[in-house]
Symmetry: C2
Subunit: 275 residues, 2 copies
């Protein structure tokens, strides 16, 4: 309870709700962070955690859609792919990735959805000094977050992306699907090696406490490589600790989240009337 | 936003949720009040408003029951009767009244429910100087709150209770059902007159803004009568204003709510292990 971000200004009968659905959920930062963004914008709105098991996901979403003061919701692991069928109007990038991490009620009571994990990641990577245009990236994890990051890197002009996932069929599927959408970028499904890359990104749960492993047994890394991780707990994962020790610039899951928070709040409660 | 009660201390990923379901919902005090009680008890828990239309009630309840960190919920108008079938273990008074206003998840994942409107009302009436034992009460409204108040007055030893409702069949049903449970108390379904009563209670929506009427066109009231109202907005209803002008002691909906808040918080998060 000592995190200053965990203070939220108010809740009353008129508060609008924007739950975040995940399994597990206790580790998520959105309830404090997004609620803080809402408050900074002057909205009486709250992001609340909802711990939802995969088998119950559809039941909970039906309940939220039927709740008049629930104007949208946020999805985290493992619900980002499962949420897409509940969205009437996915954004182009959400359709490419096959997943959404934010959903909102439109004025005509249909539901729009977008996937901001990738743009949040690219924003944080740029702050760490990596401009993706023309660069070569190694991405671990071809799930919802991984697909979004791969799509956003390609959209930002990356020259080549290698995808590594234990589920090789999934990695091949993402490479083939996003390869069609981004003709300029060379997609490979590969082995875990840090040779010849400008960026290494972990978009898998590897390194999330209590796991203390790295996505691959890296040796010494070239200090010119930027290393990024989507895992938020711990903030410095074993991969990031190793990268720091090698002199690499790093980008943390918390920073990727932070780069998204204002975007998420602005998407969920747009200032302009929704079309 | 100036109500100090409307400030809630925190929300984060580990927050437990206790929604209040109603239609309308913006006027309810529980989100601020019950959240404040939770915080005073040291719980990371929040009461959040959910605006739920009657047709969607079952869908929303199914979603809440499937949400792991939703440990209970509060019901307000018009859901108190509709909620009973969702409860596995209603309290004896909830069964008598046929309604619940609080529901909680038990350790075996079944759902217990109770109806505190009546005891809250009696607690507030006692603070206003009315001890119900042996007294005669006139109650307007035979819905969820009215039935609970009638049951609690009889349970506290009231000698006679007259029930007035536009729906006379409903009033007769409540009188007959609660008459069987409380043999010492004389139940009547009657006309609106203030003659011969120690207590007049409004448990109907009459006088809730923008309505400015009284449940009956009372003349001057005997100042020995205690007059109580369940309506919270406005706090001083036309009935209570009239009673004050006649020199009667009054008990407001806010006071009835206040008398319940600590009970509700204690029920929803019991200190002792649940049996």
């Amino acid at each position: 309870m000592t995190d200053p971000q965990s203070k939220t200004p108010f809740v009353n009968g008129a508060t609008r709700l924007f739950p975040i659905l995940g399994d597990p959920i206790a580790q998520v930062r959105s309830p404090a962070g997004i609620s803080g963004e809402f408050h900074a914008l002057g909205h009486n709105a709250l992001c609340v955690p909802m711990h939802v098991r995969p088998a119950d996901f559809d039941t909970v979403v039906r309940g939220l859609k039927a709740t008049v003061n629930c104007d949208g919701f946020i999805l985290t692991v493992p619900h980002k792919l499962r949420a897409l069928p509940h969205v009437d109007k996915p954004s182009p990038r959400a359709s490419r990735v096959g997943a959404v991490n934010i959903v909102r009620r439109e004025s005509d009571n249909t539901w729009a959805g977008d996937m901001l994990d990738g743009v949040g990641f690219v924003g944080a990577a740029r702050k760490a000094g990596l401009e993706p245009k023309g660069k070569r990236a190694l991405v671990f994890g071809a799930g919802g977050a991984g697909s979004a990051i791969i799509d956003a890197l390609a959209e930002a002009g990356a020259a080549a992306i290698t995808i590594v996932d234990l589920d090789k069929a999934k990695a091949n599927d993402v490479a083939s699907r996003l390869g069609k959408a981004h003709g300029h970028c060379r997609f490979t499904v590969g082995e875990a090696s840090a040779e010849g890359y400008d960026l290494i990104a972990n978009a898998s749960p590897t390194g999330m406490a209590p796991d203390t492993s790295m996505p691959a047994p890296f040796g010494k890394l070239d200090p010119n490589i930027v290393v990024a991780d989507v895992v938020t707990a711990p903030e410095i994962t074993p991969l990031l600790a190793h990268a720091k020790a090698c002199g690499c610039r790093i980008s943390t899951g918390a920073q990727m989240y932070q780069a998204q928070a204002a975007m998420i709040a602005g998407y969920l409660i747009p200032e302009k009337p929704r079309v």
